[in-house]
Amino acid sequence: MKKKLLATMLVTAMAVSATACGGGGSDAPASSDGEGGGSSGGSGTAITIFNSKSEIQDQFVQMAEKYSAEKGVDVEVYYSNDTVAAHLATRYSANDPYTLSMVDAKDIYSLGPEHAIDLSDQEWVQNTDYAISVDGKVMGFPVCIEARGLMYNATAIEAITGEEFKPEDYATVDAFQGLLDKLVAGGMETPTGIMKEDWSLAGHFLSETYEEQPDVEAYITQLHEGTADLINNEKFNAKMDYFDTMMKYNFAAGSAIATEREVAEQKLAEGEIAFMFGGNWDWSMLSAYDYSEKMGMMAVPQNTSDGTNAKMEGGGSKYFFIDSSESTSEEQRQAAKDFLNWLVLDEEGNKFLTEDCNLVPAYSNISAEALDPLSTSVKTFADAGNLIPNYDYLPDDHYSICGASMQKYLAGQIDRAGLATEIENYWKSTAPVEH
């Protein structure tokens, strides 16, 4: 009896393992056998794409299906909620890299020289100002333009003020504060929101205090050498004055560092608050709620005369590179190049970028009319040359460590001098990414 039971168990285990092996074996080498549908001209080459923008994953998957069917190239799109670096590290360790990987700008500098191929001869290079070159070779294909600034809900503002909202009227903190007071008087008790996430506070906001310096590189060097006097720095103070104003009117002032992003985004979308710092990628969140009609992005208000209060910070965001290792065949590389060209030079590809994914194109030949409200603002700023470029060389732990300092400031645990000291201390022990 017992033996029988055991035997049955063993046999089942083996049988199932065997099928598992067999099953796994037959579909493992996804690269070279032409099982992908409709292998007409492309001889059924299969490529893999790593997408690191979760908000467009659905669109990407759908596009890949269509693209595969039409072009005879089997395209599979992958996403991981691990950090990009960690995920790619495992794929490279396993000798199983993606044909095309979408990464952040700084990853191109660190990965490019060893893992990316030279794309300098590609046609799309002529059409963009945002491609990344390393050692004189174009390696990063910019996916889109993204910018950081102050998101506003004009519908909600106008409902109270009764007049048209013109963002450029509120370029200074003084004017901005006047408007906020008006909103409060009109019944919107707490007109602002602040994202407490470290990547927003340090990665997106604090970094603006670097990028707006007259000479970023020199300033970062000063920080690293410990000679930058942050607390007396004009830019730093101008930005922090704005931040203080936002803190003062924050809807979650009492629990600023416990507010979930979803809650803040919903309030902004539905007009319970009027302003929040963010970027055009936030639209994917805002649009999940009953959002107001008139929304947009504006420059961060500052009491300054250097003109930065009329500009947002941004530029190329997310870059594709093509794998150069021997795990990727020439056909695959060619298929990947074709795909990138399709995105930029084919009408279908353009439509995918601008309409399906709502991305602001980084290419001069692509027009985009039907963008979402935030991206429309970004495009206006970009077309007018009003984007201050991103500083892409922040160390990898910057957002986390300086983000913690910003959170302490937001929670009222340290004052501005304390914040300045913590940031100065951070930079003394670290250096920017080599570039």
């Binding site: 598992a20 996403y79 360790s93 000798n95």
Partner: protein
Amino acid sequence: MDANERAARNKKINHAIKIIILVALFICFIFPFILVVINVFKTKADITSNPLALIGSHGFTMKNFPEAMQKMDFWRSFGNSAIITICSTILTILFASMTAYVIVRNKWKACGALFGLMIASMVIPFQVLMIPLVSLYGGIFGILNHRATLIFMHVGFSLSMATFMFHGAINTNVPISLEEAATIDGCNRWQTYWQIVFPLLKPTIATVAIIDAMAFWNDYLLPSLVLARKELYTIPIATQVFYGTYSTDIGLVMAALLLAMLPILILYLFLQRYIVEGVTSGAVK
């Protein structure tokens, strides 16, 4: 008489107190799941604005389920998860119990060394092994992207703990006198093990089965490293796309959660009977 009555009443009161405590604790334990069940029928906007409401302002919706199932390719992922979980669990139980037996009954150096290593290995943070593991099996042997490889690794990682649990069980629950009797009856070690020892381990087998099956079913990190092809995805890998850094669709997450939980819950309810039965029938001491 009077004393007896009082004793009976005391017993009843005692019983009632126990039930009350149990129910109170039960509610605490189950509370988050009630939340999940409530919110799975709401839209994302309603979940954010009022998580406690029974029905959101956008009304009752079922659409989270089909959408989640479609996005995670539910049945394919389910099949992969099932094959991997079943094989890994059975193999782990067989090998671990055998190993524990030889370790408990023999004070050999090799046994001591193996057991020591196994115990120590239980405290290795997985992150330490992660990259070496993929470098070795992917970079050198090139056998990633097979379900069998994952089963092999699952078994390798869970053997330590399972052996540890069987070790304890054999030590305390299997009287050596029974084995000696079997030996006298002419059984060799192998026969003794399968006919006498293994059946006595039923409660522990059930425990290990449920614990390991659950761990395999829910594991994310290891499968995500080994299975990098969509057609091999298990349920946890397939659902990860629902939580991105910049957007989490909480409604879909909850639907996926419920779907993924059901099979393992059923397994547990089923095995739970064996845990009880095994103990009551095997009270040989």
